[in-house]
């Protein structure tokens, strides 16, 4: 019964082709991650934190800020990081910490896992098929921003837990030969500053000095001069950087000893989100050439030459705002010195520049794979129908469906502040008003401090306007 067997095979081939198209075509209409989270960022730009929280909850598919999806699905950890920043800006520190900690654990598990099915899907369809792997600076910022939550809530014990988690990650990244030590130091300066502060206030002088030395490895921070000088009287830990900055400190006065130590931390601006981009295949080959195998490079050039493909989809880091005015901090006695200690915008851009070639190369490889699959399906359909034209059309339709399903991986933690600044000063016991000016928006805090106390004030303004 050869005729019947042939018909069966023909029927099966056509059926399978139809199933593949039916399953893949709906993917063409799917939004990218940055599309799904755009409302949150728009609300932050408008400085409408309630709307940003609502959008964050909506993206997570939950009703309120206390709700967490269970179990966490593919991109939920990243969505929790977005919501944690919004909650921090709302001074909802306990809820923000909860989100950071759930995301931290999830990201850790995701770091150690990538299934074979995800790898196949990534190879065929899109980079965003697999679970999200956080970038090194994002991992450091997670623990740093959570440390800020605990310090703002005056909780030293949990701030120290976050400081230890930060150190473990920082050490791991520094030991990784693939990572750029200078960039790790730049991304970690803020975390090291807060960790030093937490251990200083906990009375652990040596640990505090070790963290402050990490800050000074990146850049000089004048506000550390007096604390370092005081800590060096209680610990024998020394480095040339610590000794140099301690020399710049003025001798403490009697009033200093009776006053409270206040640290104002200002998260301001926002790093750009990733955006989906299409570029001509020729331009893509130029960017990704270094990371392509000769076979893939040849196949891509052949397909481009035949006019089978003209565009490549890939993610790109959006444009940064060119500059941000440094925030101002004022007391009734006058303006305080403000120091920028982190430029997360520059760190994120450097990280993207380093990975861009690989990402574009991966997009080209997917394009070549799609071409091969389309050709295979076309040949099968042509044989089944006995008409070459049917095969050609089927091949083109399959390629088009697969290309439409290729969503650029625009996942990133895009609610991180672009810059972080600190102001550190002494206040006499009593009540005080502190005004922080971020891009013309004034944030007023009222604090009451007693002799020898400390306080951390957080101002988080994630507007890019």
């Amino acid at each position: 019964m050869p005729l019947r067997g042939d018909r069966l095979r023909v029927g099966l081939r056509l059926g399978l082709a139809a199933v593949v198209l039916v399953l893949l075509v709906p993917a063409a209409g799917c939004k990218t991650f940055s599309d799904r989270t755009a409302k949150t960022r728009s609300a932050l730009d408008a400085n409408n934190l309630d709307a940003a929280l609502k959008s964050s909850n909506s993206a997570l598919g939950v009703r309120g800020a206390g709700d967490t999806p269970a179990p966490l699905e593919k991109n939920d950890a990243l969505l929790l990081l977005d919501r944690a920043m919004v909650l921090q800006a709302l001074h909802e520190y306990a809820k923000s910490s909860h989100d950071f900690e759930v995301a931290d654990k999830a990201i850790e598990i995701l770091d150690f896992s990538r299934s074979t099915a995800n790898e196949i899907a990534k190879y065929l369809f899109t980079d965003s098929a697999g679970p999200y792997k956080a970038r090194p600076y994002e991992k450091l910022m997670l623990n740093s921003e959570n440390m800020l939550n605990y310090l703002a809530a005056h909780n030293l014990e949990d701030a120290k837990v976050e400081a230890r988690r930060f150190s473990i990650m920082r050490s791991y990244l520094l030991e990784d030969e693939k990572e750029d030590a200078k960039q790790i130091a730049a991304a970690g300066a803020f975390g090291s500053y807060l960790a030093g502060y937490a251990f200083e206030k906990a009375g652990d002088a040596e640990e505090a000095l070790r963290y402050y030395d990490e800050v000074l490895q990146f850049e000089g921070v004048a506000s550390l001069a007096a604390p370092v000088r005081a800590l060096m009287k209680r610990s024998g830990y020394r480095t040339p950087r610590l000794e140099a900055i301690a020399k710049k400190a003025r001798a403490p006065s009697e009033a200093d000893a009776q006053s409270a130590d206040v640290l104002v931390v200002i998260n301001y601006g926002r790093i750009p989100a990733m955006v989906a981009k299409r570029i001509p295949v020729g331009a893509a080959l130029t960017i990704g050439a270094l990371f392509l195998s000769p076979a893939n490079s040849r196949a891509a050039r052949r397909m481009a030459g035949q006019g089978l493909v003209t565009w490549v989809n890939f993610p790109e880091l959006g444009p940064s705002r060119p500059n941000y005015p440094t925030p101002g901090v004022s007391l009734s006695t006058g303006r305080q010195q403000v120091e920028n200690i982190a430029n997360i915008d520059a760190v994120a851009r450097h990280a993207w520049d380093q990975s861009k070639g690989r990402v574009v190369a991966a997009a080209i490889v997917r394009m070549v794979t799609r071409g091969a699959i389309g050709a295979g399906v076309g040949v099968a359909a042509g044989q089944a129908s006995g008409k070459g034209s049917v095969g050609m059309v089927t091949a083109l339709v399959t390629q088009a469906a697969l290309a439409a399903g290729d969503k650029p991986d625009t996942r990133s933690w895009a609610t991180l502040p672009a810059r972080i600044a600190v102001a550190r000063f002494k206040l006499p016991p009593g009540s005080h008003q502190i005004d922080v000016n971020v891009g013309g928006r004034i944030y007023t805090s009222q604090i009451t401090v007693a002799e020898g106390q400390w306080a951390v004030i957080d101002v988080t303004d994630l507007s890019n306007r």
Partner: protein, 201 residues
């Protein structure tokens, strides 16, 4: 399968697997109805099984210590149990609170002592917690709190951890230290270490 069909079949397999994967969902279960539920490690944090293990090690060491002989010779001496200090890289405050309470329970049930609860002594607990946040936590300080509590012995503890990470694994080694201090002299009369290791591999 011929070479030309291979990518097509993979595409079909992945597509079908994605559709089928969306059909399953989580469900609530009861520990008593699900054998082994309490045995599985869910994270590198301390869970009930870890606490039970650490407590068993510490309490067995206490049972066979010289301190027990001393307590038996005294007439129901009073003992207070302080909160256990967290020096680890995990947020395990609530687990350590549960451990303090369990230590109280064990002492009440097997040791020849009267346990004085810290409940209702909010100001003192606040002071202890504040001091515990700092590193200035020594036997003399502990003895001072004991005098405030009106007890002869104070049981205190702390948990340290060493935490290591590689590209595909993370290991946390915990060390639970339990010590008992004489309020009168500040002398450490009993100290024990219980190790626990958790990992994601």
């Amino acid at each position: 399968m011929t070479k030309r069909h291979f990518p097509f079949t993979i595409a079909l397999f992945v597509s079908l697997a994605t559709v089928l994967a969306s059909c399953s969902g989580p469900q609530a279960v009861r520990g008593s109805d699900t054998p082994g539920l309490d045995n599985a490690a869910m994270s590198t944090k301390l869970d009930r099984k870890d606490l039970e293990k650490a407590l068993k090690i510490s309490m067995e060491a206490l049972r066979t210590s010289k301190l027990m002989v001393r307590w038996e010779a005294e007439n129901d001496p009073t003992v207070g149990v302080l909160p256990i200090r967290n020096e680890t890289s995990e947020h395990i405050g609530s687990a350590l609170n549960a451990l303090s309470t369990e230590i109280e329970s064990q002492l009440i049930n097997f040791a020849p002592v009267r346990v004085i609860s810290l409940e209702g002594q909010d100001a003192l607990i606040d002071e202890i917690r504040h001091q515990q946040e700092s590193s200035a936590f020594d036997p003399n300080q502990t003895a001072k709190w004991g005098r405030q509590l009106g007890v002869r012995y104070i049981v205190s503890g702390k948990v340290f951890s060493t935490d290591e990470r590689t590209e595909d694994a993370r290991r946390v080694q915990y060390y639970l230290f339990i010590r008992t201090v004489s309020v009168e002299t500040g002398e450490i009369l009993f100290q024990n270490q219980a190790p626990i290791t958790k990992a994601i591999i």
